[in-house]
Amino acid sequence: MMLNTLFDQSSLFLQQLVNGVTLGSIYALIAVGYTMVYGVIQLINFAHGEIYMLGAFLSFSLVTGFFGIGLPFGLAVVIAVIFCALAGVLLDVVAYRPLRRAPRLAALITAIGMSIFLQNLALLIWGAQIKSFPREVIPAFFSAPALQFGDVVISWLQVVILATAVSLMVILQLIVHYTRIGRAMRAIAQDKTAAALMGVNVDRVVSYTFALGSGLGGVAGILVGLYYNAVYPTMGYFAGIKAFAAAVLGGIGSIPGAILGGGILGLAEVFGGGYISSSYSDGIAYAVMILVILVKPTGLFGRFAKDKA
């Protein structure tokens, strides 16, 4: 009897671990977008969560034929991600670029304005009702179990999420460390003026940064839309906050920090919700965010000091 309960306990623990890692890898994908933009232009891009929401809505609309034509799943995902990347670039060019020389507060307020605008735009286009992907349009194997140890089940979708997140992170690291554009990003993050003087086209690099971050955000949106099978206009708000907390925890501006922070936050949310209190599981992100900012604003790996430059 005792042994049975123990087994139940440990399989519950393992299942939570699997769920937490899945959730964490999605938070990491979003958090990277916050951290990269902050790295190059020191702006908290509040509208990043809305790009993520856009990714979910676009992929949903393309596969279900919301815009008139239904596309195969793979194609719809690719188009949605490309569109998110472009939307991110557009967001920067239209809203943030004119304010580069303005006080930082102006850009931050603009970012909040864009977030509200995009969220309500989605509400206008798709309505407030929660949308779910119909069974027949998504690959059937997603819901099948990939691995099973006793009571612990890892679904194919979880495997796909984890594999996508990990490979995208590896590709991102390769881009940042081994390409010209990545070197330019790192140069701008270190010293914008000096980088510009050395011939780096700052605007172009910032556009690439937005494209990369928003593309990853779009991927995360699609994955979450599939994982919870729910797409709605305010989904970007909650995920955005949690991912932002992850970026702060890892140290804003640091890509490895964002990945680690995302993982920690995903686990904390699942275990906190399971073992402490489910009604306060959303509060973990806020609490982590506030505590890190108050106690160690540079986070785990951050470079940006809390004091005014």
Partner: protein
């Protein structure tokens, strides 16, 4: 414009040509023919006055000290719940509940503000945001105290020393009285030593510290005052609306109030008033005019407005300084 050198804020209480017509309009409004000033119009007018108080209160922190507060609705909620619960549990008078709510707001303003003194702009904004979300989460989950998602219904109407104020015009005059009180306080403080210290902090915190301004102390005073005003508005709101619910105090409420002062001009007292005067009736008009599927998304306009203002009129409609 006889006196161009002085900003509207300085002339608010001294220029008869400015305040007498305004005062007349506000006082006469409930007595206009019923076709114009029906209960519905008075309701919107009352709501506008509530938001004017909120805009004045929020303005103290981002406008006077230059720190972006993204969680102002938290204090509105604290005030509303303090007043609402004290009224429901103990049937206390408005004139006892209101000061207590304001005091509770100020306490939380200080508790939130004290650890954030050394933070820079965007980190401060994030902490204020997280704080208000936590407040709402607590209100939602601590059922034994706040009834959580069931809300608090049946809060008694405002009273005037034992006499219940049942008529819409009575509550309208009541909130107008509170608005005048808050307005008087912020206008007086603005041109006092305290106000000058805040402006010094806003322009350059380090320089202010160097010339002997006690930055920590003055920031704390600003946090307490701002929070107290927000809680006061919340306390009135609870007694006027007679029902409160955690969903009334969501993040976008903070943004709406921020939008009011961004529109009017951050730091400008008249700007905060004008922002509320224009935008709050506008939201109500949009709610009626637009078909329901659009009216849910009417905050789209506020998002756009914020972006457009920051791009082309960052100092708002009534900027503090003309260039």
């Amino acid at each position: 414009m006889t006196n161009k050198a002085l900003h509207l804020d300085d002339r608010l209480f001294s220029d008869k040509k400015l305040y007498l017509p305004l005062l007349a309009v506000v006082l006469v409004l409930p007595w206009l023919p019923m076709g114009i000033a029906g209960p519905y119009i008075i309701r919107i007018a009352t709501l506008t006055l509530v938001y004017m108080v909120l805009a004045l209160g929020l303005n103290v922190v981002p406008g006077f000290t230059g720190l972006l507060d993204l969680g102002y609705v938290g204090f509105f909620g604290i005030g509303a719940y303090t007043a609402g619960l004290l009224t429901v549990y103990y049937q206390w008078s408005l004139w006892l509940v209101l000061p207590l709510a304001a005091l509770n707001g100020a306490v939380w303003g200080i508790l939130r503000g004290a650890p954030t003194l050394r933070l820079s702009d965007d980190y401060f904004a994030i902490v204020t945001f997280g704080f208000s979300e936590l407040i709402i989460l607590v209100i939602k989950n601590e059922l034994w105290l706040t009834r959580g998602p069931m809300g608090v219904p049946g809060i008694a109407r405002p009273d005037f020393f034992g006499i219940a104020l049942n008529q819409p015009w009575q509550t309208y005059y009541l909130i107008f009285f509170f608005l005048l009180l808050v307005l008087w306080v912020v206008v007086r403080i603005r041109s006092s030593r305290l106000g000058r210290a805040w402006f010094a902090i806003r322009e350059d915190e380090v320089a202010a510290e160097c010339v002997g301004v006690n930055v920590a102390r003055y920031k704390i005073i600003a946090f307490a005052l701002s929070a107290a005003i927000g809680a006061l508005a919340g306390a009135f709101y609870a007694r006027w609306f007679r029902f409160i619910h955690p969903d009334m105090f969501k993040f976008w409420e903070s943004i709406l109030i921020l939008c009011l002062i961004v529109f009017g001009g951050m730091g400008s007292i008249t700007g905060a008033l004008v922002g509320a005067l224009v935008l709050i009736p506008l939201t109500e008009i949009l709610r009626i005019v637009l078909p329901s599927e659009f009216s849910n998304a009417r905050y789209l306009i506020f998002g756009l407005l914020i972006v457009v203002m920051m791009r082309w009129r960052p100092a708002g409609l009534l900027p503090l300084e003309k260039d």
